[in-house]
Symmetry: C2
Subunit: 335 residues, 2 copies
């Protein structure tokens, strides 16, 4: 926790929050991050419902899934949205006659990006988001340049930053600041960061990103019930690309809920109602089977700054809820 700090300037505290910041862009990643709970096996109806609601709700980008390798992810096991082939995308959105831009994520070392990412003129996609761990940054930079050369907007998403040392992070951001991506993302993969850490990190990212004209993005997880509030904190600090998902659907404890975020942002282009309708009719009916959202095992991995995989495995047990304390003890033993 923090010791008491000095007061923020009165201006920031109460003079401006009724307004909105027009540069801020909202990125839906319901199908992409949610795909980590069902091997990207979504019914077309669900994908179409999210697409339609993003269009009606004024969302800026929709991330449809991954551009990952079918050599690593077997198409017999993983659904269309792990690969985002252009024919699958067109089946849902046609040529996307809307203001909503479409995105796909390519993971470093998991994507045959040179062949699977087509030239922009042959794809309805607009944005390629390159996801990378610190040790993969040179590869990620090549992926970013490849996508730029093909005509796409790009972002680079530096994952699991809560486990990265300060020196490595500074070196990483220095490298990333020089690439052609439009934004560098702060990604709280383990959902373990508190607002003070988000604040510190976003300001650090901004110093590097702004030096070469880039924006900073935020992707939060809800292990500590802070996905929405950390997204707000990042916005207050200056992040201008913000990820959210319908009903918070995403890996483990899930993400920042789109319906909460759009109500917070006062830009009149954003509408909550179509998002709420899709949440009710298409997303919430999947919750019992997919099992995302805040839960004690995810809270515990968040406490310990650990990948949620142990919690996801533990939650497969039918009597998991009776053994939360056992899980807590096990995790502590193995710190």
């Amino acid at each position: 926790m923090s010791n008491e700090k000095t007061e923020k300037s009165p201006k920031s505290a109460h003079n401006s929050w009724v307004g909105f910041r027009k540069e801020l862009k909202v990125v839906d990643c319901t199908i992409r991050d949610g795909g980590l709970m069902n091997n990207s096996n979504f019914d077309d109806k669900v994908v179409k419902a999210v697409y339609d609601a993003c269009v009606a709700g004024g969302v800026d980008y929709m991330e449809l899934g991954y551009k990952n390798s079918d050599k690593i992810f077997s198409p017999s096991e993983y659904g269309a949205w792990r690969f985002c082939k252009e024919d699958d995308i067109r089946r849902i959105v046609g040529e996307n006659p809307s203001d909503l831009k479409l995105a796909a994520m390519a993971d470093a070392e998991k994507s045959d990006y040179k062949t699977d990412i087509l030239p922009k003129e042959n794809s309805p996609l607009d944005l390629i988001r390159v996801a990378t761990y610190v040790h993969q940054i040179p590869l990620a930079l090549d992926m970013v340049q490849d996508a730029i050369d093909k005509g796409y907007e790009t972002t680079v998403n530096l994952m699991a930053v809560s486990t990265v040392t300060e020196r490595e992070l500074d070196e990483s951001l220095e490298l990333l600041a020089e690439c052609g991506a439009k934004a560098i993302y702060l990604v709280d993969s383990f959902g373990s960061l508190y607002s003070e850490q988000i604040h510190y990190m976003i300001n650090k990212y901004l110093r590097f990103a702004r030096s070469t004209g880039k924006e900073v993005g935020i992707h939060a997880h809800n292990n500590l019930q802070l996905a929405f509030s950390n997204t707000i904190e990042a916005i207050i600090c200056g992040a201008n690309m913000v990820d959210a998902t319908f009903a918070g659907l995403g890996r483990g404890a899930g993400n920042c809920p789109m319906e909460l975020l759009l109500n917070f942002l006062h830009n009149p282009k954003y509408r909550v109602r179509p998002v709420l309708a899709a949440v009710q009719n298409d997303i919430e009916p999947m919750r019992a089977k997919l099992g995302w959202g805040f839960d004690y095992p995810y809270m515990i991995t968040g406490f310990l700054n650990r990948h949620p995989r142990d919690a996801m495995k533990f939650n497969e047990s039918p009597d998991a809820k009776d053994h939360i304390v056992d899980f807590y003890d096990d995790m502590l033993k193995n710190v």
Copy 2:
């Protein structure tokens, strides 16, 4: 939402959050606020489990319930914890041979405080929390003085502050600053405040409270998934009495979860494990029946800065989850 603000001082952002603030006190109000979901009808076993876990977890205060009038609340309908008679308290805690202090809340106009609050020497209670709306402040001040005269610590909890005008609030705080209470509470009854508003309010409260040597407290609700994060924001700003409940049990969307709060506070006196055990064994088993916690209808009343009563009533319908958008439309029509 906010426009971008200036950076906080580096000190506040990263130099101090590993430590802890020893003046900060945690107030459990599981049975008191949770009692709004079941007319304060808890099994003794549950009350004892929360008490034992508070003692083992190092919690500073436990609020057992209300000291409210049995003329207004029929004892045939409302359980023991709406009245907190001393014999009922002693049945659970004996003479409370622990460091945990015990509290009860007395609502302005709902409490026969002159007779029902006994002299301190005849009660295991340590703290009387006086809850008041703005228009009841003169009465609340009399209640505070009555409790002080009887030997108790007191706080005064100004409810529904999100609906109070600035001028009324300033006048209220000026009056409250002069009373003998040890703390003035910011109470976000409708769960509608964002971090920037919490920040502004806490700083305002502190200016009045500190002028007469008082602390400021925070009581948050989770309608917008911000109960925990708003509690953190209040702490960062300087609040030193913070309310939380096991598993967030409380009216409607519930409160700041104790298990999350204790992990955030780094004071080694606080232990998460006993709280987690009570959550697993005693609190979560009540969730299906009591139905507290974040849900879309509560989110919608939070959006609109409305009392949760409409959402609580709506949620009684067995097919409520299929009519979230209808509820949203109804609430908008009646703004």
